[in-house]
Symmetry: C2
Subunit: 283 residues, 2 copies
């Protein structure tokens, strides 16, 4: 367990995980890893939900093709009931494609406190220090205690105007600002925009509590807006990335591409290219 956690922590710190995985995996991993971080300025990742119609092998093949090295793990790829051996095999599979699973979620935990306990237990066993979650508001104090107990951060995901609980970043920030500093946001910039809230402004306001970003663009700043390729929507991505630099954001930027979900590679690849182009040109 300690080895696994060390592995992941080193990943998060940007240090090669060369010591923990097999030789050929190591070469693939450390090679792509370093170049990706260096080239992006920011660590580009993929939110697992982008691959909802694909198993982990298909997903990793796409990530390898795009040279993207961080995955936010969804439970359809690594179920909560996974054994230690299954978790270990999963990480090794990722490493063989040069990928680090850096967080789990989004996980819904609105039915019972047991779901919260399960999520923290799962994150600990997976060896990540970040959970993306959708909890009930009345459980936030309980979750805040858990983040301290496990030393695992908890990022609440905002889901746009239809979301009665967390429509935007502000709604989450107001709820977590006085809780444990490990309580924060997975900032879905697309859903924030769909709720009519400016992503760059909110990044500036809430960056100390933003632990992860679902990086995307949307076709309109209303509930009718849908995900589109990163360079084709209403969010000014160059301005947003400038803001990330300004506030010193050091989390991941994980693309969540909810268009063409049964054939997402072209749109994801275009988005990856756009992100890197903006990042390189404004470095």
């Amino acid at each position: 367990m300690e080895t696994r956690r060390t592995f992941i922590q080193k990943g998060l710190l940007g240090i090669s995980a060369a010591t923990v995985v097999g030789t050929s995996a190591t070469q693939a991993f450390s090679g792509s890893y370093v170049s990706a971080v260096a080239a992006d300025g920011f660590a580009l990742g993929i939110a697992g939900y982008s691959f909802v119609h694909f198993d982990i092998d298909q997903s990793l093949a796409m990530m390898k093709r795009m040279n993207v090295n961080f995955l936010c793990i969804k439970d359809f790829h690594l179920p909560l009931a996974s054994t230690e051996a299954q978790i270990s095999a999963f990480h090794e599979k990722l490493a063989a494609s040069g990928v680090t699973g850096y967080a789990v979620g989004p996980l819904y935990m609105t039915k019972s406190k047991a779901e919260i306990d399960n999520a923290f237990d799962y994150a600990k066993r997976v060896g990540v220090k970040l959970i993306i979650g959708i909890p009930n508001k009345e459980d936030l104090a309980y979750i805040s205690e858990k983040t301290a107990e496990y030393d695992i951060r908890y990022a609440i995901h905002n889901h746009g105007p239809e979301d009665k609980l967390y429509p935007n970043a502000t709604s989450i920030f107001e709820l977590v600002k006085d809780l444990d500093p490990r309580m924060g946001l997975c900032f879905d910039m697309g859903h924030n925009m769909r709720d009519g809230q400016d992503p760059a402004r909110d990044m500036k306001r809430y960056h100390k509590r933003i632990f992860d970003i679902h990086f995307k663009n949307v076709t309109a700043a209303t509930k009718d807006g849908t995900t589109c390729e990163l360079g084709r929507g209403v969010i000014d991505i160059p301005a947003f990335i400038k803001t990330l630099r300004k506030v010193g954001y050091n989390g991941k930027c994980s693309l969540e591409f909810e268009k063409d979900m049964k054939d997402p590679l072209a749109g994801l690849a275009e988005s990856v290219g756009y992100f890197r182009g903006v990042s390189d040109a404004s470095a």
Copy 2:
């Protein structure tokens, strides 16, 4: 014929071709056309050779997916022997996908002068004002006369260190600089780099004679370099695009992607995204 030429010329000038094509095609065409030019700053295109393993329908489907609106027409998509009706149908097919065929080539014409005559006749019938060609050096004076006679520009393509005729931009510039001003280069920045020649420097030097660009990146500045996704090679693309702005380049930037040629969409899409990201971030 006049209608067809007017159509293409308007395309080159960046004016909507709404008047010449059918209603549904028109909507697709003018819509994407305007947004692409506005978003890119430069007109992004695809060099037909990128689609060597695909027919025109498959190629256009990929272009539509990437929202790219200019195609340099290769003869495997529109043979030199095409009839007026076939050419017309081809243009209508392109327009239905929002695409303008802005030039023809590269066309080899090293075997006989008849190939040169055929190429100019073909370009005239296709209605484009630009031929990308690979001619013999001893025919350049003859071609220069043809460019004046047809008022069609002729851009010679450089093909790297293996190319005994035109390894780099300098080799072409020296040959055309005193010929008709319609004689120039299709600047293959990747092959120029493979020949150890700096693309941005040569863009600055020769921009008045650069009529088209095979836009790409390569893995090494030697003959062993191969095409790679735009953001992953040794050419500093942000610096190159800055140079394009500085010299006021107003030709097309046509991606020629010679990697994964049997499955090019992901790499092309990443390159399209990178181009637009750099362009948007540095606008």
